[in-house]
Symmetry: C2
Subunit: 135 residues, 2 copies
DNA sequence: AATCGGAATGTAATACCATAACATTTCCAA
DNA sequence: TTGGAAATGTTATGGTATTACATTCCGATT
């Protein structure tokens, strides 16, 4: 469930589009799916996506230039969320791992590095797709 | 040191450009720096970068659409290399952590996920830049 | 030496991703 | 009521990456 009290009209439309989608969507794909709702320009999508990311309701997948709705309960921590992305069907699993978080935290402390955003994305093939096509 | 026996002319030029650079470079920046060497089109750069990535001599930083020369000895493992990227000066630290690798490995095993490429990038500010600008 | 074929290269065109700049509207608090 | 911040609409532009096709390079084979 990904509702939010203070979403604007455009933000709501974009979030609903991502919720309905079975796979990550590019900003331009979202734009196309919202033409009938009055969307005309990429910036309408990017602005909504920006706010939704601030709220923690949407994540950007850096390795594929696409966006997904957060599947976790609203308000969950996002400091070090990891994503497993299926190249075949597009399914995305979002997960966190305390040990990974701690190890990377140790590295940045040891190197006096001040982290702002951490990206962890595993691209590959999910169990279903591997089963269907045992390549 | 990042020499390689079988590099072609274009691959050598691109790798040298990345070696000389103090920060990650975009493909188009590389193109500009190689105009005098006869480079004319983006594809010349992308093709060389593709091969260099295959050889493990160059890495793509997904979160900033840029490329760096590998700083590790040639032939080192790259299954789960992590990068700390300074937003201010561009310095990149490449490192590996066995524990991180194991934890992510456990997740993929548990979920029968078949990983192809893992991206770990920490964006932030390095020690030097934090010291200079204690913000 | 001639020839064959795969790899690399050259070039133009196109597709895809993201933001700048500016005008207008909405909405809420003072 | 009104002032101002936030959101929206619109156009133009800039940055990133690939498709498609022609050509050249180079080593293996004959
Ligand atoms: Zn999330
Ligand atoms: Zn799949
Ligand atoms: Zn490396
Ligand atoms: Zn720095």
């Amino acid at each position: 469930m990904t509702s939010h009290p203070d979403l604007t009209k455009n933000q709501t439309l974009v979030l609903k589009t991502l919720d309905k989608a079975e796979a990550p969507l590019s900003a331009y794909t979202i734009l196309d799916r919202l033409r009938d709702d009055g969307f005309r320009a990429p910036l309408q999508v990017y602005r909504a996506l920006g706010k939704l990311q601030e709220f923690g309701l949407v994540h950007r997948l850096e390795s594929i230039n696409a966006f997904v709705a957060c599947c976790q309960p609203h308000g969950h921590r996002h400091e070090m969320t990891a994503f497993a992305i299926c190249r075949t069907c597009g399914k995305v699993d979002e997960f966190s791992d305390t040990a990974v978080e701690e190890r990377l935290g140790e590295w940045v402390r040891a190197h006096r590095f001040k982290p702002a955003k951490t990206t962890i994305e595993i691209s590959g093939d999910c169990a279903d797709c591997t089963a269907h096509d045992p390549g």
